[in-house]
């Protein structure tokens, strides 16, 4: 069982390393991720949301509905923990 798990892990690692060969170089300022979408947020964050912290402005303004939905995730997890762990009446 342990040998089978080790073989699976090595195969998956090999597949992932093969996948990284198509990634942009680490720290490349001209990679697609840092030239296509993110400059818009860095440039317009201050005038559109009046927040110097770009992470805060994206989380709280541009993606505020997503953040609202995240509270549902936390609430559901908390409710699940409470329902599992409460010491109810013995059957």
């Amino acid at each position: 069982m342990k040998v089978l798990s080790l073989i699976t892990a090595v195969i998956v690692a090999g597949a992932l390393v093969y996948g990284t060969l198509d990634m942009p170089k680490w720290g490349d300022p001209h990679s697609p991720a840092s030239t296509h979408v993110s400059p818009y947020y860095i440039r317009h964050s201050l005038e559109q949301t009046a927040t110097p912290n770009v992470v805060t402005s994206v989380l709280g303004d541009y993606r505020s509905y997503d953040t609202l939905g995240e509270t549902t995730v936390v609430f559901t997890a908390g409710m699940a923990c409470i329902l599992l762990l409460r010491r109810g009446r013995k059957k």
């Binding site: 069982m1 342990k2 798990s5 080790l6 699976t8 892990a9 090595v10 998956v12 690692a13 992932l16 390393v17 990284t20 060969l21 990634m23 170089k25 680490w26 720290g27 490349d28 300022p29 991720a33 840092s34 979408v37 993110s38 400059p39 947020y41 860095i42 440039r43 964050s45 201050l46 005038e47 110097p52 912290n53 770009v54 992470v55 994206v58 989380l59 993606r63 997503d66 953040t67 995240e70 995730v73 936390v74 559901t76 997890a77 908390g78 699940a80 923990c81 599992l84 762990l85």
Partner: protein, 131 residues
């Protein structure tokens, strides 16, 4: 060859960390060790995404400078700041990670109360015996 390793070793380190968690999830018999493996796996993914936000050169965290009271009239140099979007997405992922960890630990506690053990083979033995 050396240049190639310098450009890509960052990704490989996180793949190694991720496979440690993956192996723990598959091979370990103790349920708490499986949960720890799941946590290592998720942390590796988060580290990977955070590491892709870096740009080589003279960069800082994505908090705009010299904006006290002003309306940001001066031009913002994009190449001066790290990419903010991976940070935001990983904040969302951290919330999900904490939720899954909490529920998994609660389920492990319930299994321990029911079967008095956390070892997988002993639990399966108890179920077969119909206890």
């Amino acid at each position: 060859m050396f240049e190639f390793i310098i450009n890509y070793y960052n990704y490989w380190v996180y793949i190694g960390l991720m496979m440690i968690g993956f192996y723990a999830m598959m091979a370990k018999k103790n349920l708490i060790k499986k949960i720890i493996g799941m946590n290592i796996f998720q942390s590796a993914i988060i580290f990977f995404y955070i590491s892709t936000s870096v740009k080589k050169g003279d960069i800082t965290v994505p908090i705009l400078e010299y904006t006290h009271g002003g309306s940001g009239a001066h031009a913002v140099d994009v190449m001066q700041y790290a990419n903010p979007l991976p940070h935001v997405l990983m904040l969302t992922a951290i919330v999900v990670m904490v939720g899954t960890l909490g529920v998994a630990l609660a389920v492990a506690i319930m299994i321990y109360r029911r079967y008095d053990t956390l070892e997988e083979n002993e639990i399966i033995m108890n179920i077969r015996k119909g206890r």
